[in-house]
Symmetry: C2
Subunit: 508 residues, 2 copies
């Protein structure tokens, strides 16, 4: 196993790495970490039973590689605890032995946060998958962190509730992973952040201490809200073993509309108008540009142009409410006025659930259709909503004489842009034109270089562009407080100590 | 000035303290803190100008005493910084000199968190009262922490938005204080926690470091969410100087109804039914018992019984939405069905804003009417909603042969009970029957001994009843990390190190 690796962002998808790709930053295996020994494996087998320990090369494959096949680890051991006591015993042992550990949920992350970098032990939460309790009066559900999001949502739907979180990976991702990456997703505009919806947590610290912060109360002002630090910590501060979450009442009716706009300015005005007219029933406010839609229509079977002519911008608006008739009326009035005001050029409203799914598919399949174009350079940034699309146009201009496509889509209502570039094959010159330029431009606008995907291994080096020196110092102190030996998910989240982010100036 | 004091919870209101009151815990002035000298005052006068330094006895009065006149400090100096640089210079100096500091907003807290205990310097935020910017596309407002909540809300209403927070003290409380106590209030059931709505913060640490975490983005996953620790830290970790908050769209119409129920079970069923039928338009779900209403009708001028006969329980339901007609129809249907199902006995819907205010007044005046009965013993606990009212009944039984009234009201939708006891005069036997019994019973139900008021000086000793040993250890580490010399708001929030909470067993 090599003891250092270079991390490229993004690496080519489904292609062997090319040595000509510019080096983003180099990661060296921390020599303080011990190598796994036979006696370690015996200890874990005694603790967890044969079912709890995986070490065959074939079995390790799916734990060592992320679902995009972009990040590749070389772990020799996967541990599958059954409960917090198991996690505690594992971590206490690893902390004493200086064995590094990567906590892993559904392994659906996009920034390399959930796969080993070198030979870290994978701590898979997949056997901790029970829903523990639900209180219909408060809507509070308690579950182990390895429950799959979609399963938890189905459990809640049967009881008249929904998870305040929905995302493309719902069929595989674990709620512990969602919380550890502070996932955003499609319902964010309605239900807001996990910082507001996660009410309690049980977590195991690096030294094996089990911390009970599993409050099941909507309000509890008895001291510092410690669990908040673990929301978005990507498993670097401790391992989340149980969660209590405030579920939302399941809406009785939903409507989906796709609208065509002639400019981004009209998209903005339509958003403002929707927020004021539809107010409390808005549950999604998404947008995509025509090049995004073209990719979907080209690559995804059974999709069709939603409107009779082509427009530079599309919005998807979803409403969720208690009264079918009322919501229909509100939506119709809104569409009529928006058309009369010249904000939208055309629009379609789904007449049933199937049509609703088809409209959603146009937005949700963009990522998949991109991947069929060759190499994708994926970015997930937050910017002031008003000027958000300028970044796409700047990038298009910058790459004008390259054979590259630039598309922009995302969570309009949250100021969250997914800017993606695609080329037929990996092109280091294109990458060098995008990065670090894009991150620097984002920083100039006081944006965020990672809106919802997290830092992982691929964005951490750019943290200084979104966070001040004082903030990063404090984060290092926090990391040191919870995990003084640094065994939990090493090399991730925090930027390498003495390595400033690559700059555009250096590239020239 | 005495160098120790005993803290009683609650102390008698508007009455001299009686030595017969049982001692809850004793606080001793930390001898490590320096005494204020003339040269200190000169330094601060040079820094802030004469306007920024108050030291006349008459001027100090309102800073040394809380608005309930329950907590009394003996500070000799109030500093009034104009900006974060002033705060930084003050704290750096105090940290070096070992001068203790109490950050103070509107001084409307209920647990003694905002007044000095001994001679701590008061750092008043009242001159840092500017709204700095507002973005109508995102709804994000940036303001200094000394802005009064009501003023910020008015500023937003003029722009078609509202603060996601509303509470009785809005005319005096500062938003910095709201965030530092993690205030809950009346809109919580609709807009949720400040942990979800506060997007960024500028804070000054004890050593004078200014930390810029003033994100104005709905989504920013670049590292640990440090500002979350300062939400609810009651000024013990640093001084919040600026905030960015996600405002909500201002509703176009509101309706208020007061309903009479024959049992708490019917209150619960009506709440569930309201949540399912009214869903997204519910903006308040409050309740009060008949004894609460009787006090209001007795003491508050121009109030009248809302319904033609008397019921043991009342609910106040408010809706906020985008369409007058739709909301009216939803509310009427809900009331009709609830009456047909026998869940409610009677009800009234406000026909205009004035009537709406009158109905709200019945709920909002309970605290004031209680204070006219003599001594009030105030509690603010979180409990499982289903069994919440049992605590009121237990307490009534326990105090049956005392001359004491017991009332229960609060934020039904949040599982937050305001349990209040009143006696004509302060009665130490009554207090001894309430505490620590009530806190212990709350702990047995995994409730919280402080739902929204915070710990301050009067609840901190009971923290071990709501938080585990590991959690309290972590909190101490966090305190030590941000404020190693302990100069910020000493004696508050964290429990005294070697003093377990008083127990019911000890009382016997």
């Amino acid at each position: 196993m090599p003891d250092h690796k270079t991390v490229r962002t993004p690496e080519p998808r489904n292609e062997p790495q090319k040595s000509s790709a510019p080096i983003r930053h180099e990661v060296v295996r921390d020599p303080r970490f011990a190598q796994l020994s036979d006696s370690d494996i015996s200890y874990f087998t005694d603790l967890l039973g044969a079912d709890g320990v995986l070490s065959d090369e074939s079995e390790l494959q799916r734990y060592n590689n992320d679902w995009m096949n972009k990040f590749h680890g070389a772990s020799q051991l996967v541990l599958r605890p059954r409960n917090a006591s198991d996690v505690s015993a594992i971590l206490r042992y690893c902390n004493e032995r200086m064995l590094a550990v990567v906590p892993q949920g559904g392994n659906t992350g996009l920034v390399g946060g959930s796969v080993p970098v070198f030979d870290e032990i994978v701590l898979s939460m997949q056997r901790m998958n029970k829903v523990l309790s639900f209180d219909p009066y408060s809507g509070i559900v308690i579950a182990e962190s390895g429950v799959v999001l979609e399963q938890l949502n189905s459990y809640l739907e049967e009881r008249g509730f929904v998870m305040p979180l929905d995302l493309g990976a719902k069929g595989s991702c674990h709620i512990g992973g969602n919380v550890s990456t502070n996932a955003g997703g499609l319902r964010y505009v309605r239900y807001g952040s996990l910082h507001g919806n996660v009410l309690g947590m049980e977590m195991v610290l690096a030294d094996g201490r089990i911390v009970d912060n599993l409050s099941t109360l909507r309000k509890d002002n008895t001291g510092y809200d410690i669990k908040q630090l673990f929301i978005g910590a990507e498993g670097t501060l401790g391992v989340v073993t149980k969660l209590s979450v405030l579920a939302a009442r399941k809406p009785k009716c939903q409507h989906v509309a796709v609208l065509g706009c002639s400019s981004y300015d009209h998209v903005l005005k339509t958003m403002q108008f929707a927020r004021s007219e539809l107010l409390e029933i808005v549950s999604a406010l998404e947008f995509f540009d025509r090049p995004s839609l073209d990719l979907v229509l080209k690559h995804i079977p059974n999709t069709r142009d939603p409107l009779s002519s082509s427009f530079p911008f599309y919005m998807l608006i979803e409403t969720s409410g208690a009264n079918e008739e009322h919501d229909q009326e509100k939506l119709n009035r809104f569409l009529e006025s928006a058309a009369n005001e010249g904000l939208i050029e055309d629009g379609t409203v789904a007449q049933d659930t199937t049509q609703g799914h088809s409209l959603w598919q146009l937005r949700e399949s963009i990522a998949e259709s991109l991947s069929k174009e060759g190499t994708v350079y994926k970015y997930d940034i937050s910017l002031p909503t008003r000027t958000m699309y300028d970044m796409v146009e700047k990038m298009r201009e910058r790459l004008a004489d390259k054979h590259a496509g630039v598309v922009g889509y995302g969570h309009l209502g949250d100021g969250n842009l997914h800017l993606n570039v695609h080329t037929p094959h990996f092109d280091p010159e294109v990458l060098a034109l995008i990065e670090p330029y894009l991150f620097e431009q984002t920083a100039l606008e006081r944006g965020s270089v990672s809106a919802e995907h997290g830092m992982g291994l691929s964005k951490n080096v750019y943290m200084p562009l979104s966070k001040s020196v004082e903030m990063i110092d404090i984060m290092r102190q926090v990391k040191n407080m919870f995990d003084p030996k640094g065994i939990l998910n090493p090399y991730k989240v925090l930027p390498p100590p003495h390595q400033p982010p690559p700059t555009e100036a250096q590239q020239k």
